[in-house]
Amino acid sequence: MRLQLTRPEPPSPIRARLRAAACLLLASSLPSAAHAEAGGTSSLDTSLLIYGERQRADVLEPTVRFTRLFASGQAFSAQVGYDVITGASPTGAVPSGAIQTTTSASGVTSSVAAGEVPTTTFHDKRLALDMDWRQPLGTVLTSTVGGHFSREKDYQSVGGSAKLALDVMHRQVTITAGAGINRDDVFPVGGTPQGLTDGTGPTDPARQAKNVTDGMLGITRVVSRRWLVSLSGTHTAESGYLTEPYKVVSQIDTTSGESVGQLTESRPGARTRNDVLGTSVYHLGEDVLHLSYRYYWDDWQLNSHTFDVKLRHDFNERTYWQPHVRYYTQTPAWFYTTGLVSVAPLPDFASADYRLGPLRTATLGATVGFHMGSAPGEWTVRGEYMRQSLKSPSQGEGGGEGGDDARKGASTSATAPTSAFNLQVPPLDIVSVVVGYSIQF
């Protein structure tokens, strides 16, 4: 099953054919700078991410990546990124003074919250360094080792990874296996607060550690001259301090519907994550279609589906555009709550971080790649619009399935929080622009 690509004759046959004939003659008979070009080739990629959330955070992230290919197939790359984040982040507290509640026999109330979501303002900078080295081992094995370091005011992450790729079936199938370890340290300003307290108690001045290990297995297969598919799975174990020290959970008086207090959030000290990612890249003749689907599940009961579609269309050798659609949906973590019932006993763990809630993200974007006249290097400009919203329990798989059976089956017998109400917050709109420039030399 091979598709034959037929191209119409160019409208100006003589000029085009003459060009080819002249090129052939002059190229073959002339020495050129080929000797200088031989050996390693290097490329430098730079990008600037400008990211803005409506009335919340703004991020500016310049990144530089240097890649060098060596004659025997080795490759070195190093990437430096620097983010400047300013703005507001939701604390997890509910919008105050605007909750209408109705009690029911189950004790769960439903309500609509209007008004502003409480946020804390912050200003942070983050520096991230990544490096990796690819080394062929013989003709069918390739190893890659990498290191990672990032640092911000109250967070530091150091990690390393190793990967081995084996080509089999005349390189039509590649099997990749890898493992990584990461050690993170959290050192909140003013010390680490105790979980589920009002935050006035003593804090722990020590650094809080978080250890992450992961293993991955993947297979890539060349299906035909124009089709490539890959499937990979990752298993990640996290342990240590997994809580967000600045996030809080509201306590709600269900009779008045008012927030009567805030507690620091608290998350379990371990998390086991899994995901499978399937990717297909198909060459349609002129366009290239990238499809991917990821299924993710963890023992916090957070499951997610991610669908991603990109279609790249090349107008000519120097210009292309690529529309992008992404849809993401997740179920909430079992200890996610919109707010705690003030009179109920405290659960073991609770978090109102919307990122652990019944979240949905829809992304629509497009990338344009082009060259500036005859100047070297390729420019890319990408604009994306992202809308994040929290699902109400009636929508999709959110909340409903996270019953006690599942929780107890996979986790401990820890008590889960009971949400005081259902929160409806306006969706968060995010706009990001990435300007990139790549050059080879």
């Binding site: 100006s12 003589i14 000029r15 003459l18 004939a21 003659l25 002059l26 002339l30 020495p31």
Partner: protein, 292 residues
């Protein structure tokens, strides 16, 4: 041979291929201009020696005197012949390196002497690339036929010299061999090179056009210097190998800008061979041109 200062550039001038030649280098460095100029001169002389049909012992001479026997040629010549064959094919036979016999019949000396029909007929019997056998570096011409790289040799020398010089300098330069030229890059300050196109009626005396280019090959075809007057008509020296006659109602000068000098030269020749259709041809091809 001379080296002079012209408009902030060094001009290295010499004579080769029976034409005035020059290399302009956009630099203050006299020594560099001199060294590059010698490269241009050496290349022009080399191409002339290798492909002039007047020099005994070279490959063209061997082919033209083989008397019907096959002649094996070197790689470079093979490439040139390939190029000529491609041009013959894409021009429907108008471009032909075997039209030498015709050129002997016609004398373009500005007089009104025109060869007889019989003489043209006889010459045509020895013209036509389709009669040649060309495969795998071996060319076999029927006895009495000749090849002549006159139509592409100068342009080839320009592109070759430009290629050699480009590997030796970072400065912008312009190679001009008898009016066929190649400009390699804008001058300092992003200024273009200014090229004058001769008035066909007063060659060498006045320019009718000033063309500004930064990069590319420029070549002109026309009857500026060599023609015959026949029945009141001015017939240029470019012959249509299919009829044996000069192209009628041809423009007096066709200048084309193309990525290389070879392409410019071939396109201007092909346009000229279209006669009154020259302008339409060039418009169809979508190139930059100046027709007089």
């Amino acid at each position: 041979m001379s080296l002079t200062r012209v408009h902030d550039a060094w001009a290295f001038r010499f004579v080769a291929m029976a034409s005035p030649c020059e290399l302009l280098v956009d630099t203050d460095d006299r020594a560099e201009a001199d060294a590059l100029g010698r490269i241009a001169q050496a290349e022009a002389s080399r191409v002339e020696a290798a492909y002039s049909r007047y020099l005994p012992g070279n490959v063209v001479h061997r082919i033209n005197h083989a008397g019907g026997a096959p002649v094996a040629v070197d790689d470079e010549t093979a490439l040139l012949i390939d190029y000529a064959a491609a041009c013959h094919q894409m021009s429907g036979g108008r471009f032909d390196i075997t039209s030498g016999a015709l050129r002997r019949a016609w004398k373009f000396d500005g007089s009104s002497r025109v060869p007889t029909a019989a003489a043209i007929e006889a010459a045509l019997a020895h013209v036509g690339w389709h009669r040649a056998r060309w495969a795998d570096h071996v060319l076999t011409l029927p006895a009495g036929m000749e090849i002549d790289f006159g139509g592409i040799g100068k342009e080839y020398a320009v592109d070759r010299a430009a290629g050699l010089i480009a590997g030796r300098t970072q400065h912008a330069f312009l190679v001009n061999f008898g009016g066929d030229l190649f400009a390699a890059g804008a001058r300092v300050g992003d200024r273009p090179w200014a090229v004058g196109v001769d008035d066909p009626t007063r060659p060498g005396e006045a320019s009718v056009y000033r063309i500004e280019i930064k990069r590319g090959g420029l070549a002109t075809s026309g009857d500026a210097r060599r023609f015959v007057l026949h029945e009141g008509k001015r017939l240029g020296h470019i012959l249509d190998p299919r009829t044996g006659w000069p192209v009628e109602d041809a423009p007096s000068s066709v200048t084309v800008l193309a990525p290389t000098c070879m392409e410019a030269g071939t396109l201007s020749t092909l346009a000229y061979l279209e006669g009154p259709g020259a302008r339409a041809f060039l418009e169809r091809e979508g190139v930059t041109f100046w027709v007089l």
